[in-house]
């Protein structure tokens, strides 16, 4: 693939860069493309030129969030791929010109959690929804008036240039097309990781996936690769039935078509008593309860991937827990970015997992709001936003 050509590479190092960014000034408002200034990277930081980015539902969740929980103005976007423009002090892992994928979940590779197989929650820089850089808390973005613009999830990829901490960056050396690398930055990795690392789906298992967005379909891809014999997709949108087959879904259930029958019973009938693994990929407490009721007593495992933002708790019958059902949750599907993303890139190149079918739309940066429309209307899986078009 082509590297971005820089007419005067030495010009920008150490200096602020003026570029375009898509800013969200108020909740649920269309993003506005404006000129901003991006400060040079400080210690441990890397300034990146974004090549392409994609819209993930978590962006939409925080785009909609009313103040005071929602923070504005913000540059959203956390699923992307870029090229290193310059690095700050102490950064040795990447250099100018390297292709990198930023990730919202840190991977210092040094703390107890990073070193353990059992956890992907880096304790050095724990996950948080923070408006600034992880180590300093300050912002590298200023608008044309010199006012601060907030970061999002330590990435902020809806900008021609952004600054990301090295702890949130993955160097890509595999010859994977950049747009496919972009997809590995969040949603697809989450789904594949959840199936293979958290649930550890084994050959012959039965799986039920609640919510057939990109994450749910990525779970299907992971489950199929692991040899699951039955992969049931549950979604209220009948259109999903058509595309779901491409990703490995063997049976489709629309809860609206089940009448009075609870979804747990429907799934139990299809799976001799309940699915071995159930995944909740939406972020609604009542769906989490449905997923839990659909898994098999004895050994059924429910994996929570959806982000529940209303604060509603998961409520399950205690007897069901004693009957052998378990609940596990995971941010980013158990993925440790720096080791697992390159692995997933290789799996794509070896044709073990598919990524192409997730890209349903592509737009130029100026049309970024179309990506929001498409996702909100349930028409897209992943809409790529190319910065240079």
């Amino acid at each position: 693939m082509d590297k971005e050509t820089q007419t005067n590479p030495s010009d920008t190092t150490g200096k602020p860069i003026r570029c375009k960014a898509a800013i969200c000034k108020n909740p649920e408002e269309a993003l506005v493309i404006e000129e901003i200034e991006v400060a040079p990277p400080q210690a441990w930081e890397v300034r990146i030129k974004i090549l392409c980015t994609s819209l993930c539902h978590s962006d939409v969740t925080f785009w909609k969030m009313q103040k005071p929980f929602g923070i504005f103005p913000t540059i959203f976007g956390h699923e992307a791929v870029g090229v290193v423009e310059s690095v700050g002090e102490f950064v040795e892992e990447v250099k100018k010109g390297d292709i990198v994928v930023p990730v919202f979940l840190a991977n210092c590779e040094d703390c107890k959690d990073c070193k353990s197989e059992k956890s992907n929650i880096c304790s050095k820089i724990p996950f948080s929804v923070n408006p600034g850089m992880p180590r300093s808390g300050s912002s590298r973005f200023r608008d044309s008036n010199g006012d601060v613009i907030n970061h999002f999830l330590f990435v902020s990829s809806f900008s021609e240039y952004t600054v990301v901490d090295i702890i949130h960056l993955v160097k890509i050396t595999e010859p994977i097309p950049v747009d496919k690398a972009c997809l590995l930055s969040c949603g697809i990795s989450t789904g594949v990781g959840a199936a293979t690392k958290i649930a550890k789906v084994e050959k012959g298992s039965t799986v039920a996936i609640f919510g057939l967005g990109a994450v749910g379909l990525a779970v299907a891809v992971g489950a199929r690769m692991s040899g699951a014999s039955k992969i049931i997709g549950v979604d209220l949108n009948p259109e999903k039935a058509k595309i779901a087959k491409k990703f490995g879904i063997t049976d489709f259930v629309n809860p609206k078509d089940c009448g009075e029958k609870p979804i747990g019973e429907v799934i139990a009938e299809m799976t001799e008593g309940g699915a071995d693994y159930c995944f909740e990929c939406i972020g609604l407490a009542n769906v989490m309860a449905d997923a839990f009721s659909s898994c098999r007593p004895g050994w059924g495992k429910t994996v929570i991937l959806g982000v529940e933002v209303h604060g509603a708790p998961i409520s399950v019958n205690s007897l069901e827990i004693l009957r052998g059902k378990s609940i596990a949750g995971s941010l980013f599907g158990g993925i440790k970015a720096k080791s697992d993303i390159p692995r997933l890139a290789k799996m794509y190149l070896d044709k073990e997992i598919q990524l192409d079918e997730f890209i349903t739309h592509e737009v130029g940066f100026d049309d970024i709001n179309k990506a929001f429309d498409l996702l909100l209307q349930g028409k897209s899986l992943r809409c790529l936003i190319w910065m240079d078009r």
Partner: protein, 422 residues
């Protein structure tokens, strides 16, 4: 018994087992003299019947039917009081039912077997269990589950296969069973799928403990949680179950075993079972328990066990387990219909897991012999669990002691002679 073994000297309890079995054989020969050959007759014996909720058990004469196909009639040597007995003794509404013979933790000797019973014969030492293992269904054949799907667990008032009962009182009225065991009786009838044959050399007042409480606790640590060496563990509720979890965690090499209990006396007792640190929530002031535990464990315990049976304590246990890999294991049983509530934010963002442990995920026929052997090899310690021993006539004392939190396990000897340890 071989001469050689006798010459080496046996503990008094083992000698009592031998004597017991001799006495049983003599009684058997008497019965055979009275009965025509070729058919088993009902047995008249004593049983402790619970006739009304919360009232002392009454020792009465009952008739115990002969075993039908797949059934085994056993003579109970000793039994112990488990909190599940107390729960259903107190309960007024279904699944409580009266009159009932309680008792789910016991050891006995096979008196006679019904048709189709191939794995057991007269004279075998057996432990009955509330959990069934048919060894034939998908769950029994899977390592991942101990929840037999052929005979799913329920608080059953009768025999598992045909729903009949085997006990009648002196007026000929039916007395109900208790979760397929009913050990508060000199004789009981149990389905072969609820029986495990064991090595008879384990003293009966240790063997009976394995019938429920010990298996549940040790199993929760070994099988459900799979505690590994170096782990930190927090146990909410230091009754027999919680202490058995501690014992199981200790044997696995857990380095920190925190016991949480409102009763300060539990710490001294807990130490005997491997508890390294004690937390009494009443002494924590305004500090939430999970913060206390987080400070003691580098952010949270690797494994938290709830051994009380309260949804609110499950929430505390969940909050106390470590981010990243913390597992919460629910062992205690809250009242039917109770809901467990978790923050989905914590489940997702902290990578925590919640699982339940029924009978410690123990598969009786496979795992109970392993526990027996572990005791005989002096690894698994059971002696400290037995804090009191009474005769059958004094069975109600066992209830008093447990309710007053004065006992861990009170063993009830069915025969007149309680052997005293040296």
């Amino acid at each position: 018994m071989k001469e050689g073994k006798e010459a080496r000297g046996l503990s008094l309890s083992t000698i009592s087992v031998q004597r017991e079995r001799e006495r049983e054989r003599e009684r058997e020969r008497e019965r055979e003299r009275e009965q025509p050959k070729g058919g088993r007759k009902p047995i008249q014996c004593r049983a402790a019947i619970c006739r009304r909720p919360g009232e002392p058990l009454q020792i009465e004469e009952v008739e115990v039917a002969p075993p039908k196909a797949w059934e085994v009639r056993i003579k109970i040597i000793c039994t112990s009081l488990c909190f599940s007995d107390v729960t259903f003794w107190k309960m007024k509404d279904p699944p409580a039912i009266f009159p009932r013979i309680l008792g789910d933790e016991a050891v006995g000797v096979v008196e006679s077997v019904g048709e189709n019973v191939k794995e057991l014969k007269e004279g075998d030492t057996v432990i009955p269990t509330l959990v069934t293992e048919c060894q034939d269904c998908r769950d029994c054949n899977s390592k991942k589950s101990n929840k037999c799907s052929k005979f799913p667990f329920k608080i059953s008032p009768s025999m598992p296969r045909d729903g009949t009962t085997c006990f009648t009182d002196s007026k000929g009225e039916v007395i109900y069973h208790f979760i397929h065991v009913s050990s508060f009786s000199e004789y009981t009838v149990v389905d072969v799928a609820n029986l495990t044959k064991i090595d008879p050399s384990i003293p009966p007042n240790r063997a009976c403990l394995i019938g429920c409480g010990i298996s549940t606790g040790v199993g929760a640590a070994w099988k459900t949680a799979n505690v590994e060496a170096g782990s930190s563990v927090a146990i909410f509720g230091l009754g027999a179950i919680g202490l058995a979890v501690a014992e199981g965690a200790r044997l696995r090499g857990a380095t920190k075993i925190i016991g949480v209990d409102l009763n300060p006396n539990k710490f001294e007792i807990g130490k005997k079972f491997g508890v390294t640190d004690f937390v009494n929530p009443s002494d924590c002031g305004n500090k939430p328990i999970h913060e206390v535990i987080a400070e003691m464990t580098d952010g949270g315990a690797d494994y938290c066990f709830e051994c009380v049976g309260l949804a609110s304590v499950v929430s505390q246990a969940f909050a106390s387990c470590r981010k990243g890999w913390g597992k919460t294991i629910v062992v205690g049983v809250d009242k039917p219909g109770s809901q467990l509530t978790f923050s989905s934010y914590e489940v997702l963002h902290f990578g925590k897991t919640i699982m339940g442990s029924m009978f410690g995920d123990i598969k009786p026929k496979t795992d109970i012999p392993i526990l027996v052997k572990s005791y005989l090899d002096k690894e698994l310690q059971l002696d400290e669990f037995v804090t009191h021993e009474v005769q059958f006539e004094d069975i109600n004392k066992a209830f008093d002691l447990l309710l007053a939190e004065k006992s861990i396990r009170c063993v009830i000897w069915m025969d007149k002679q309680i052997p005293f340890p040296i």
